[in-house]
């Protein structure tokens, strides 16, 4: 493989690994604030139990997010120097604002949030929790602004092949930003809802009937049931926005080769770019036209419009976009079924978690990571869907790649991949380990015997 392909796989692997953890911490920060505020209001210890368990998951996820994020900030330079050389005047300030308004805020107050409960007044601990949650959301905001600008750039002018900012308001509020940001925040909320429901169901199945686990199971199910319809609606809006600004991406998502009316919604197909057609199509007649144009004979753009006269392909690779999109939608539908089913049973039987059949609780455990699947599939849809462009209409991905020998990139890629596999295994293992340990109350604190005055202090750090 050449340097370009290896660098793309490396960046793709890195950002895929990275996004798993912010997706958890963005919403989990707000859920922790909710637990803390419920505790402040009711004084009920179950909320503090919930806080203590989930703040550990937060700390672990946050560390994973930080270290993989640092890796990305360096890879801009080591693998993609052309990106900053061309659009640095726009990307630079956005990244700088992310570091200054978000990274320091969350990193500094995280220490107080994790370890400060008995050291600072209650209000300061609650404030620290709020600031960490706010920081993670700010971080998401700035990076989504930059990402959206790469899809729908505006507010700039090109001089000698370099982009210069002309209107910062237009850059920040570029056409796809509000949709993408909302879609991502909701994705984070759903990921956390199903993670909380899944791990709580796991504890429940192991026989944990504590108030803490009841509270978190309810929180997870209701949060999921509340957010999923909003997300489906927002996803549809985002799709319409993409149709307007990046029609070639929607054409790939629908697997539609010719611009035509009465386009079916394909449930299954194997897109073939050589023959420029689909094999084994199974579809609902007219449905894609109805979803995208709100009428059965609506005209949907086709991929063949995005091939230049000399045969250069200016649309994304079809199969990965087509399939990632279907995986995302299918996961969303499974989320809808499970969360509404569970919420319905809990409400109508009026017995909370006791009203849930075992089958539903068992289903919740693997669905704990459904948010990850949907988020990754969604990001693959939109990012592969932007190819061959890196910044739509300004520069292709190929233009940005560094002139590093391919064996170097292959070496680092191999190293990163093995570490990611190791860490992901360890992460998921530890989540379930913590859940098992948490059964029947909170994690017991081990105290190793020590001599003299050291006794009070030297206890394993948690």
């Amino acid at each position: 493989m050449d340097t370009l392909m290896l660098s793309r796989i490396q960046f793709g692997a890195n950002i895929s690994f990275h996004i798993l953890f912010p997706t958890i911490t963005i919403a989990l920060g707000w859920v922790l604030l909710f637990f803390k505020l419920r505790f402040n209001a009711t004084g009920d210890g179950k909320w503090m139990d919930a806080y203590r368990f989930w703040v550990k998951v937060f700390a672990l996820s946050f560390a994973m997010g930080v270290v993989s994020g640092i890796t990305m900030s360096f890879q801009f330079g080591t693998n993609w120097p052309g990106f900053m050389e061309t659009v640095g005047n726009i990307a630079g300030p956005l990244l700088a604002y992310e570091v200054m308004t978000a990274f320091f805020l969350e990193a500094v107050f995280l220490g107080i949030m994790l370890f400060g409960f008995s050291r600072v007044p209650g209000w300061l601990h609650t404030t620290a929790t709020f600031l960490v949650a706010f920081g993670t959301s700010m971080s998401a905001f700035w990076i989504i602004v930059l990402n959206s600008w790469m899809h729908t750039p505006q507010g700039y002018e090109m001089r000698d092949g370099v982009a210069y900012a002309t209107d910062w308001f237009a850059i920040i509020f570029n056409p796809s930003m509000p949709y993408r940001f909302t879609h991502m925040m909701l994705a984070s909320g759903l990921t956390v809802a199903f993670l909380i429901a899944g791990l709580s169901a796991f504890r429940w199945l192991l026989g944990d009937r504590s108030q803490g686990v009841r509270a978190t199971l309810k929180t997870g199910v209701y949060l999921g049931a509340l957010l999923i319809p909003v997300q489906i609606f927002m996803g549809d809006m985002h799709g319409l926005n993409t149709l307007e600004h990046q029609p070639q991406k929607v054409a790939a998502m629908e697997g539609n080769w010719e611009t035509q009316s009465n386009v079916p919604l394909l449930l299954f197909a194997i897109p073939d770019e050589e023959a420029r057609t689909n094999h084994f199509e199974v579809g609902i007649p007219n449905m894609a036209s109805i979803i995208l144009k709100h009428k059965a004979d609506g005209v949907v753009p086709g991929l063949n419009d995005f091939v230049s006269e000399d045969g250069e392909v200016l649309h994304p690779p079809v199969a990965p976009v087509f399939w990632s999109f279907r995986i995302m939608v299918a996961t969303g539908m499974a989320m809808l079924l499970l969360s509404w089913g569970a919420a319905f049973l809990m409400l109508c039987k009026g017995r909370g978690a006791e009203g849930l059949p075992k089958l539903i609780l068992f289903a919740m455990v693997p669905m704990a990571f459904s948010g990850w699947v949907a988020t990754l599939a969604g990001w693959y849809t939109t990012e592969i869907g932007r190819q061959p462009w890196l910044v739509q209409g300004i520069m292709t991905t190929e233009m940005a790649v560094a002139d590093v020998p391919a064996p170097f990139v292959a070496t680092t890629l191999g190293a990163y991949l093995s570490i990611y596999v190791l860490l992901l295994t360890a992460y998921i293992g530890v989540l379930f380990f913590l859940a098992r340990k948490g059964v029947d109350g909170d994690v017991p604190r081990r105290r190793t015997p020590q001599s003299g005055e050291a006794l009070a202090r030297q206890v394993p750090a948690e």
């Binding site: 503090m48 203590r52 703040v55 700390a59 672990l60 946050f62 560390a63 930080v66 270290v67 890796t71 360096f74 330079g77 080591t78 120097p81 900053m84 050389e85 005047n89 726009i90 630079g92 300030p93 990244l95 700088a96 604002y97 570091v99 200054m100 308004t101 990274f103 320091f104 805020l105 990193a107 500094v108 107050f109 995280l110 220490g111 107080i112 994790l114 400060g116 409960f117 050291r119 210069y164 900012a165 560094a402 002139d403 170097f408 070496t411 680092t412 990163y416 570490i419 360890a426 530890v430 380990f433 604190r445 005055e453 050291a454 202090r457 030297q458 206890v459 394993p460 750090a461 948690e462």
Partner: protein, 336 residues
């Protein structure tokens, strides 16, 4: 020259200064917590818990200074960012893997099942060591003008070792400040050993830098500069002597002067960094690209500067708050 008349002059200078400050703050702050990691094999298991407890609330924010420094290089001097990082491709990758391992080991070593703790402790040490060595290697390569020859490679290997020693030295000084009893006594011994490595490393880089570049030689060894630069090496020498004296008085009954070694170590880091910064100004890629040639468009720099002016004091403020909340001797890290 009217420095503040032309934004194409003063903006790059301001950003180079900001970047310099970020790197310095990073080297001091992450320097001590990386150093604590490098010292891990010399400590017993319960001491390891205490060592992590002393840096637990801070390490994350410390590392953010690296993101800020590299971010400023990225946003203010984009072409230099590409040149430097592609030239340092492999050491950067090793550093990143090191940072990943040690960052997650903080969490995993106490959250994973107890039998795995030894492995995570080892990975915490290995990650800290990889990070320190590769940063030292990059420093050496940078001093050598990013040239790739056998000689520069050998020099970089030496600076890799000395920067690691310097980090473990400031890490030991931090432990003297934050711990008690046998661990503190051990830290004093570590610092006494480390200081000689530090002096050797400082001397080596101070000698090599002017010899590699005639331009840097002229900046230091011509009149009148030599007279007002002379205090820097002299003050550094005095600091080293003072450090040695301070370490000799520790540990003691009242813990008097436990803060001194850490403060003096910071001073020494500041002097060394000041010397390097003076040598390389105005180049951002040694001998190839000045900060004025590499700078982004003034409009973009100005937008960032506005934010920086407001945000940096806030960052300083709440960082101070965090160090205040966790002041005094390190204690068990607990979530309740």
């Amino acid at each position: 020259m009217d420095l503040f008349g032309d934004p194409a002059q003063w903006l790059p200078f301001t950003f180079a200064a900001l970047m310099g400050v970020s790197i310095l703050v990073y080297v001091v702050l992450d320097g001590f917590d990386l150093g604590v990691g490098v010292l891990f094999p010399f400590a017993s298991d319960s001491e390891k818990d205490m060592m992590v407890a002393s840096i637990g609330p801070f390490w994350d924010a410390n590392e953010t200074w690296l993101v800020l420094a590299i971010g400023l290089l990225l946003v203010a001097f984009p072409s230099a960012h590409g040149t430097i990082l592609t030239a340092l491709y492999l050491p950067v990758a090793i550093m990143l893997i090191g940072l990943i391992l040690r960052g997650v080991a903080f969490e995993f070593r106490v959250k994973a099942p107890t039998p795995h703790k030894a492995t995570w402790n080892w990975l915490f040490f290995a990650g800290s060591l990889m990070t320190s060595l590769s940063q030292g290697f990059m420093l050496g390569k940078y001093v050598m003008g990013l040239e790739s020859t056998l000689g520069t490679w050998a020099f970089a290997m030496i600076t890799a070792v000395f920067l690691t020693v310097a980090y473990s030295f400031i890490g030991a000084c931090w432990l003297i400040l934050k711990t008690e009893y046998t661990l503190q006594a051990k830290a004093v011994d570590w610092a006494k050993g480390g200081i000689w490595g530090l002096v050797l490393g400082l001397g080596l880089i101070s000698l090599a830098t002017p010899l590699v570049s005639p331009r840097i030689f002229d900046k230091w060894f011509t009149a009148p500069e030599i007279f007002w630069l002379a205090p820097l090496p002299i003050l550094s020498g005095v600091t080293v002597y003072w450090l040695w004296r301070a370490l000799g008085r520790l540990p003691n009954e009242t813990d008097a002067g436990a803060r001194t070694p850490f403060m003096l170590a910071i001073t020494l880091f500041v002097f060394s960094f000041g010397g390097l910064a003076y040598s390389f100004y105005p180049y951002v890629v040694p001998e190839k690209l000045t900060i004025y040639e590499a700078a982004s468009a003034p409009e973009s720099l100005f937008i960032i500067l506005v934010g920086t002016v407001f945000v940096l004091p806030m960052i300083a403020g709440y960082t101070a708050l965090a160090y205040y909340v966790f002041k005094g001797k390190a204690a068990e890290l607990r979530y309740d």
